[in-house]
Subunit: 431 residues, 2 copies
């Protein structure tokens, strides 16, 4: 696999990069005071935080340890804590001993509690970039940045069957990642009450796994939109191989240009990239296409209350992303003639999904390092482990929202139809 | 039963009452033009709308017919359509032929579509009173107005077992009202995952049926708050009769004064009376009481988008009520450290509940008329039938929202626990 540059993935060499390393020696009294101040800023977590010479705060012998490796790193972290931690960790100038997701969960939990105590300082660690919706050109650039890292890269650690880069559904905890991703697709199909011959529009289809599942297991016709070229090439190839290309059409276009009619509208993991400023436009697209007797589902990362994306994630990993609170994405339904039927929060399912991804990523570290470099590996481990921690402490949520046109009275009377048989068995609603 | 005055129920004789009846004779050309204008204002529904002399608009021979009985009624309706229709109907100066809920569903559906066409005029029919939250004194007055009509009155047409004046759960459509109200309580208990010995706080308990159900079927201790004296007297008497008074305490106080600890917080049919301005205060009450490992549920009438209560209902039937859109009541959870786990929309269950209520009300019309008067009977029939129509056309929704403290990770992995056995069989989660 050829990679033009690892910058595609982490945008590391921009002018906001960390101070260069300043060699250590013994820490000075002022530096130890800075360390204590940093410890208090993050809510004094039950973790050991140390300087390069072993001076530290927090309980010795604690499960997790964070080490700041040089003087420049300390100064940079104090000056720019929100960007600094990620950049310095990626550069190998902050080290974490202990299992990374667990240490981060302890750290984030502490930050979370400190923020609830309304500490002003702590916000410097959590600071976010204000987000406005991306226009079509910016959207393409943002999506290219993240998703066009290459199919080979994602294939290393996503589920092997459908390459779904979204939260799986661990209906029972012991499912494999492949089973849980299948269960997620099945759960979505049941919520949409798909019937053979119906037409489905999908906004944002990743590598196209859900579209093929719907066509194969439910006998529907699907038109799936995406603006990531590499993903679409893969998706089309797969559909051809599986003999589904007469029922699944993958279209390279922005969600704003979706047209035509559908009985079901589905979008899994795209709303994060739409941005609140564009929810009204997205709503009009759905309203225009969806049959009055239809159903829809939007699956998105979200929050308990509105907040911007963490600045480091936004800048280095996921430009343009905004996980909305329910109150924010209700704008979408309220601005159209749509009625919310069901919201299900699958937060801890995403923590479990990410555990699988991190485990597989770690199994392929050597491969990733050979394609990119050590900094890329460390940045992605921080992103995956940090996401696990964020879902576990509740900074992030995962909402699946089912909706229908407001005048649709052909609604199921209860939700037994979702639970009649395990979601690992496909085609539940065809019986 | 002694009634001081039917004003308690309908506040009819205030200065905004309708013009006195002006005797008919033949309608004039200008009056027929007014009628045509009114027909267009309400979106030209497939209904016959007639004047006292038979002049009319809309298809002759249609299923439903609305007749304006005198000249004064026409002028009043044209001048104040939002209050006028209800007041004139109650006074017997507008008559409806055909089944009242069906005619109103046709009329409201037409109004609804007309509003979506952004007609300015139609809003005069739908005009709402702006709502701000009631303080404790106003809350008492509002609640007294509606709920202290007397237990004897509500007993005539609510379910005989628990007198629940909230949406039932018709898990299957053929359930009786009593079965469906039991199923609702069971569904709520399962969502709360009650375990024996746990403590529950209930905000707004009506006649106390849910509290007794929780104590009896799930072995929990319940403290239930209400500010309606007559309801509380009834609830306490019932708890004593059923030997539950050691486990259920009914407290006459405002929700703002709730204190103590609970494992589960529940509120069914109270949020409508809280008002958006008070959601933050309500949230702080929940946050203060609810165990970090706890769960909560709020069941409320709602809307697809924010709107005030219809002015006639607000003034004559339900002062101070405001059914919120999801985006509005998310303020409650966002302002506290609470995470929404599940939202279920039970809209059509409320239409079905109301059908049962109207049927029973009609069976006891004579009794109600003898206690109050004809105007009261007509006003309440309009309110019940109009509510059926509103739920059927989607002007109103019914949301059951389950939530948990944000840091609670002891969450069920899926919703099978709600659907393991029919909700008509109690004690589902004790097995």
């Amino acid at each position: 696999m050829s990679r033009s540059s690892s910058e595609v993935a982490t945008r590391r060499n921009e002018n906001s990069g960390p101070l260069r390393a300043l060699s250590g020696g013994s820490s000075r009294a002022v530096e130890r005071r800075m360390l204590h101040a940093l410890g208090r800023m993050v809510g004094s977590p039950p973790l050991r935080i140390e300087l390069w010479d072993g001076a530290g705060v927090g309980p010795e012998g604690s499960e997790g340890r964070i080490r700041i490796e040089d003087r420049g790193a300390l100064y940079h972290l104090a000056a720019q804590p929100n960007m600094g931690f990620g950049d310095l960790f990626s550069a190998g100038r902050i080290h974490v001993d202990g299992r990374l997701p667990d240490v981060l969960e302890t750290l984030f939990g502490s930050l979370h509690r400190a923020r609830d105590d309304r500490s002003a300082l702590v916000n410097r660690f959590l600071e976010a970039k204000p987000q406005s919706g991306a226009n079509q050109r910016a959207a393409r650039k943002n999506i290219h940045h993240h998703y066009d890292l290459g199919n080979d890269f994602y294939r290393l650690w996503l589920d092997s069957e459908a390459m779904q880069y979204t939260c799986a559904y661990f209906e029972t905890p012991e499912l494999t990642l492949e089973q849980a991703q299948r269960a997620k697709m099945e759960h979505v199909c049941r919520k949409l009450q798909l019937q053979p011959g119906q037409e489905v529009i999908e906004a944002g289809c990743g590598w196209g796994g859900l579209a093929r599942y719907m066509a194969r297991e439910y006998g529907v016709r699907v038109r799936s939109y995406n603006i990531s070229r590499e993903q679409l090439d893969f998706a089309r190839q797969k559909a051809k191989e599986e003999g589904l290309d007469d029922r699944v059409e993958y279209i390279e276009d922005d969600y704003r240009n979706i047209d035509g009619h559908c009985d079901a509208f589905v979008s899994v993991g795209m709303l994060e990239h739409v941005g609140p400023a564009n929810y009204g436009e997205f709503a009009r697209v759905i309203e225009r296409c969806l049959d009055p007797a239809g159903r829809g589902l939007i699956h998105t990362i979200g929050r308990n209350r509105p907040a911007g994306m963490h600045a480091w994630i936004e800048k280095r990993i996921f430009p343009g992303a905004h996980p909305p609170a329910i109150g924010e994405f209700m704008d979408l339904f309220e601005s159209a003639n749509l009625s919310v039927q069901d919201v299900e929060n699958l937060r801890l399912h995403y923590a479990q999904t990410l555990e699988h991804w991190l485990e597989r990523f770690d199994e392929h570290q050597e491969q990733v390092r050979s394609w990119y470099d050590e900094e890329f590996v460390r940045a992605w481990r921080l992103y995956l482990a940090g996401s696990i921690a964020s879902f576990r402490v509740g900074t992030l949520q995962l909402f699946q929202t089912t909706f229908a046109p407001a005048q649709n009275n052909e609604l199921p009377g209860n939700r037994h139809y979702l639970y009649g048989q395990p979601a690992t068995e496909p085609g539940g609603s065809l019986d």
